[in-house]
Homo-oligomer: 528 residues x 2
């Protein structure tokens, strides 16, 4: 009872504050458990429709919900279960139906947290029809902070946000390279970079909230952004993509032969301008590497399919192999990439029919918050050691030919042996500093809600102190100085600042928010 009294008191306090400033009472985000705050003149009420909660602030669970909540393990307990207990998972991994059951649970539990159909977009702090029918924006999981709030973070923090440059200098700039404690390789970080480009396609000319992609894993990173590019990249023989041979190895063709849109600065000689599905893939040798691997794989599968179906024409071979490459991509992403990310002892599996007959929405929209969360630039080291030759990042930038020079085998092998950077504070190299600076500015422009609001949305308790967030004192102090209030910490800053989880590459929040987006996105695929 005491706790409840306290809760009521604090609500009363919030309401009093609200009334005192006479502004929008929803700025304090008083509604709990997904309730929607509605102004009512100078007052507010919470719409708890469809929730298992009622009360002024949707704070009282139904009897059944109370029991469910009581039985439900905390995210950290579940995580601990998955990354430990090797003996248990060895058993589960070897019993087909158990392994499938767990995978089904992993998928549906994660995906359940994503609102589908999508609810919000970037230009309104309430539900609009545009969220459903306007594909040109990233969707929003939480709506923007209303513009009539006392502070940019609602009611918390200062009237003016702290200077981005100062924040970046204080807690983002790399002093010395901090390696990933889980031992992730640079091969892993290039994998992340290459495949996320296929669904994060910001239309920055229109603004950071706009995008021009297909809201899913559409393998445009291999086949080009549209039919025109695809046709340029195709050989129209046996379903295959165009390639060229250099030093006895197959590589993508050059742009002078295959004039797809690619972003190369003027000083890149034409023999180093490779034509690929994604216009940024000339940026780094690691991207040419993955681009080439997929083109080679496409052509390899074409040979197999042609043997299997000699009666198929070029078009059918191409279209079918494109679907197979999508399937392979998702398989590698789930069973290798996410497996590594998660550090689970449970062996994840790609098996689309697990979801047939399950409550799962195939429709996907890429969320702005997912895009922000996937800024993993600390993983990039300052220099690369390719079989003894050292390249700093500047010598890598727009030098895709480095892969060709070393050859695919040597290059891949070297990347696999080099450690990626740790995701966390003090680890953005000089070339990625402008990126993080822009990212934080974009978050402010689009009025992203505070870090703690996202924790609540994804069923985590808000962190109460800066030390609880970071797990140490120095960074806590820095954050305290900048933000004043733990509830005023920005989304990306919170993700970077959070202490790493047990046996993990990331903090709790990044994974608990990222995994649901990921699950909904990777399975938004045509039945094959």
């Amino acid at each position: 009872m005491r706790v409840k009294d306290l809760a009521l008191l604090s609500i009363t306090l919030i309401v009093s504050i609200t009334v005192a400033w006479g502004g929008n009472p929803c700025c304090s985000y008083p509604c709990e458990n997904g309730g929607v705050c509605m102004t009512k003149g100078d007052n507010y009420y919470c719409d708890c429709t469809g929730l298992d909660f009622s009360g002024k602030n949707c704070e009282t669970p139904t009897f059944m919900k109370r029991i469910k909540l009581w039985l439900k393990p905390a995210p950290s307990t579940l995580h601990s279960l998955m990354v430990n207990n090797k003996w248990l998972w060895n058993i589960v991994n070897n019993i087909g139906f158990l392994r499938e059951y767990v995978m089904k649970k992993v998928l549906t539990m994660r995906a359940d947290l994503i609102d589908s159909p999508p609810t919000y977009e970037n230009h309104h702090d309430y539900i609009t029809m545009d969220s459903q029918f306007n594909y040109s924006q990233y969707t929003r999981t939480l709506p923007p902070v209303p513009s009539d709030c006392p502070t940019p973070m609602g009611i918390w923090g200062k009237k003016e946000m702290p200077d981005v440059g100062e924040i970046v200098n204080a807690m983002f700039v790399r002093k010395e390279f901090l390696p990933d404690p889980r031992g992730s390789s640079t091969l892993f970080s290039f994998f992340a970079q290459h495949f996320t480009h296929c669904f994060f396609k910001t239309d920055i000319k229109k603004g950071p909230e706009f995008q021009w992609g297909g809201h899913g894993l559409d393998v445009t990173h291999v086949y080009g952004k549209n039919k025109h590019s695809e046709n340029l990249l195709r050989s129209f023989k046996d379903g295959k993509m165009k390639t060229q041979v250099i030093n006895g190895e197959e590589w993508p063709p050059n742009v002078d032969k295959v004039p797809v849109d690619m972003t190369y600065p003027g000083n890149v000689p034409k023999e180093n301008r490779f034509a690929m599905g994604h216009e940024f893939y000339g940026l780094l040798p690691g991207l040419l590497m993955y681009g080439t691997i997929w083109v080679r794989e496409h052509n390899r599968v074409c040979d197999i399919m042609k043997k299997e179906h000699p009666e198929w024409d070029d078009e059918r071979l191409f279209q079918t192999v494109k679907l197979i490459i999508l399937g392979e991509t998702i398989k590698v992403v789930i069973e290798d990439y996410v497996q590594h990310l998660s550090n689970y002892n449970y062996k994840l599996m790609f098996k689309p029919d697990l979801l047939f007959g399950e409550l799962f929405q195939y429709q996907n929209r890429i969320a702005l918050e997912f895009n922000h969360l996937y800024h993993w630039h600390p993983l990039m080291p300052d220099e690369f050691n390719i079989n003894g030759t050292k390249y700093n990042l500047k010598e890598f930038l727009f030098h895709p030919e480095v892969v060709v020079k070393h050859g695919m085998r040597e290059f891949v092998d070297s990347l696999s042996k080099q450690r990626a950077g740790a995701f966390g504070p003090y680890n953005h190299g000089p070339f990625t500093i402008p990126v993080v600076r822009d990212l934080i500015s974009h978050g402010r422009k689009l009025r992203l809600q505070p870090f703690n609001n996202y924790r609540k949305k994804f069923n985590m308790k808000p962190v109460k102190t800066f030390e609880e967030l970071t797990g140490e004192k120095k960074l806590s102090k820095i954050l305290q100085n900048f933000y004043g209030d733990i509830n005023a910490v920005e989304f990306y800053v919170g993700l970077i600042a959070q202490k790493r989880r047990e046996k993990a590459m990331f903090g709790e929040t990044l994974v608990e928010i990222g995994a649901p987006y990921f699950t909904e996105g990777a399975d938004d695929q045509p039945h094959m």
Copy 2:
């Protein structure tokens, strides 16, 4: 056993025919129950993955499926149950949870028949990635007939399709007006016309398979096709749409004041050029009528919402009322329009949360076949009687001002008293003949599969004879002469030719195919 032997024999025959012509063996559509036919050199096999059937042609149900099939009532039995037994439905309609249970079943059973994510598009007779990521086409429920088949209908019918003009003359041209036997009014037919325009948006310049809409009920028929049009139509005061007063009544503004794209021929005087959400709404007074009703309703709801939320600005009022208008549209569509269409004694209900926690895909794609099926031009009479004044269709075409002249009340009242035409043969008026001619030609260009294949896809038995299809002899003979084989009848021709169901406006096939499309489409909406 005898039946099975016969089945095997007929399969053997089909296979022999196949081998005899040496062409694509999938042209005979040998795979049953949703199995996917794959060529294997000169032979074929059926991919039964994910089905409850196995065997060479996916013809053998599992034990459980056999029992389910045995228990499952035929579509005609279900229909009969719904349109009769008034006493039973009176009980169900009055017991809340029973009524909700039936509605849930109606929705999920219907929607289950639609493949989601979408599988086919118009340019390939096999699954491609475009079906998922290319929104510029209507989707396809059944893929096109392969172009290397012996006949345009697979293996059935003649090598050359019968002449479209001759078919239209023989079985579409109206000799005398045939009224709808269920007593539907012309108010009903204009309702159908006005609201389907919001999701059938063929981009005919690119081709009949292309479209430019949002693949759902997006109320663009009220608010315009894009932000630019929407902004032109808005007053930016209290959330309202622009209107003008003529004869003391509210009407949409004129195009010279609100320059949205509208299709008016040159001879329409500027005071008769009304500006509305859909560019075709100047075509007929019945469309101006509905366009006006929605604009007035929008403004009426704005007044209510402003009283409820005096703190809301114009933008929030507008966006929220737009969502309310969408909700009202769906409610009217389900509870009045579909209720009338279905002729069920069960009272349908609009209650979105019935689907929460159900297996239902919100994602929607408008199918080409749905577009074809929704060509209900026989419902249009040749003349309209507006309170004693008779207008032939020519006097209606591009004369929206007729509504204004008579006033809304008199016009609506008159339409509600006039009978619509019957959906069926010999009932296309002169102005709609070019439409049906184009429709059949488009179906051929896009190689729509035969009528009977669609019956199978939607769990109906293929019709075996022309007489079984039409229920009479004269039309059977006409069809026999044109097509030779019942399996060669075209999709739209079959829909028009089929005998009307008991107490219904349409034949069995149109409803059993249309209802699933409808269910998936109307509920593809943002949560409200």
